[in-house]
């Protein structure tokens, strides 16, 4: 019996290790280099996404989906198509919103927190977020994937986001999943699919 339990524990812990294994320093360096090489080449990026809002007390995650488009240096459109239409555009210090046809604009000017959020979203999707000044970062290997965990250093940012986890496809070195943790129980998980890099995207796309 005891051996059985020991074996079981070994099996479970072995499995855990298989799921998430720490990278060595050499692996970290090579992983960062790969991601930076790819993200540097990104001039435009469009991707479909599915967002799962997980709240511990709910019986089911809240699922919404749509399309995200980014163009260098900082044009960003986040468009929800299901189950409702809601578009948010970050453009020249402005946030443009289209909520089921109702349009509005917010001038964020030099708002630090929005600047950070913008950088964060772009960084999350492109993968280029390895800023040791902003985050405490840890690196893991998964089956066919790499995982980087970012803990914000800034107190203001930390109030909103406890941790950001980016999952990368090992082959392509691009982000396939973004997970924003608010607490240990509650998080938002965004799965990116059908990514197209450097297709021609006109500036006029970025409007509400």
């Amino acid at each position: 019996m005891k051996t059985k339990i020991a074996l079981l524990i070994l099996f479970i812990s072995g499995n855990l290790f298989a799921q998430e294994q720490k990278m060595s320093d050499a692996e970290i360096a090579s992983f960062k280099q790969d991601v930076n090489l790819v993200s540097k080449k990104i001039k435009t990026l469009s991707t479909d996404f599915i967002q799962y809002k997980h709240l511990d007390f709910l019986s089911k995650d809240i699922e919404t989906s749509g399309k995200m488009i980014f163009k260098e240096p900082s044009l960003l459109q986040w468009q929800y198509k299901k189950p409702y239409n809601y578009t948010i555009v970050f453009k020249n210090g402005k946030i443009l919103i289209n909520d089921e046809g109702k349009k509005s604009a917010v001038d964020i000017g030099n708002s630090k927190i929005f600047g950070r959020i913008n950088k964060l979203i772009v960084g999350s999707v492109s993968g280029n977020m390895f800023d040791d000044k902003e985050f405490t970062i840890s690196y893991f290997k998964l089956k066919g994937q790499n995982l980087a965990k970012f803990i914000p250093k800034d107190a203001t940012l930390k109030k909103y986001i406890k941790q950001i986890e980016l999952t990368f496809d090992k082959e392509e070195s691009t982000v396939v999943q973004v997970k924003l943790l608010e607490s240990s129980e509650d998080y938002t998980r965004i799965v990116l699919k059908n990514k197209v890099i450097n297709a021609k995207i006109d500036d006029s796309v970025f409007t509400n």
Binding site: K53, L58, I62, E63, Y80, P83, Y84, K159, I161, L180
Partner: protein
């Protein structure tokens, strides 16, 4: 003499204004014999349902939108979370008839007056049972009066379908706010509007189904 007449008129006018308000809820309605002493509201009463609504809040001309989530977590308690469309939590409350706890709120919204207003709104929104003291009617509704501390709630139930269509929350002198419900099946409300009369605040909830 003239002075006192003016004063008298003024007082009368003031009284008229004061009396119109909540009196106006029942003014044009005919008193009726009570046909029930309690009313149960089904709209947020199922502990198995995740109540998820796309939300638009208009406050003094400013617009705020997001997702409103409510869940009954035990016999008396509801959890309420309001997030942005991106999913980040703006506020997180636990609320019952008698208790209220703020689990979290972003600093931009952390204002006592706002929290107290929402507490009052949500408490009424989630209220499951009303004890009835008086009854009235008009052409289309049976109207039930229920005491709420020093205030009153008036419940409008359609005669045709027996659905709760609105709750009007009044002080002795004024209508404070109204909650309007639209429900197809009388179990779940697809659209809800919370409209304040004394401050420029309107909260609209539209149910959406997750994929």
């Amino acid at each position: 003499m003239q002075k006192s007449t003016i004063q008298f008129l003024l007082i009368n006018c003031l009284l008229a204004i004061v009396l119109v308000s909540c009196g106006s809820v029942t003014k044009n309605y005919i008193p009726k014999k009570l046909d029930k002493t309690a009313i149960e509201v089904p709209y947020f009463s199922d502990s198995k349902t995740d109540y998820v609504y796309k939300t638009n809040i208009t406050v003094y001309g400013n617009e705020l939108s997001g997702i409103f989530i409510a869940k009954k977590i035990n016999d008396t308690l509801h959890r309420i979370v309001f997030t942005t469309e991106f999913g980040n939590k703006l506020m997180d409350f636990e609320i019952s008839d008698k208790s209220f706890k703020v689990n979290s709120i972003v600093s931009e919204l952390d204002r006592k007056i706002l929290i107290n207003t929402l507490k009052q709104d949500f408490r009424l929104l989630l209220k499951k049972e009303y004890l009835i003291e008086e009854q009235f009617e008009n052409e289309s509704n049976n109207i039930y009066k229920s005491k709420d501390g020093k205030r009153d709630n008036y419940l409008f139930i359609s005669k045709k379908e027996g659905k709760l269509e609105k709750v009007v929350h009044c002080s002795k002198t004024k209508e404070k706010f109204t909650i309007k419900f639209s429900s197809k099946n009388n179990i779940f409300a697809e659209n809800i509007q919370i409209i304040h009369q004394n401050i420029k605040l309107k909260i609209e909830l539209n149910h959406f189904k997750s994929e």
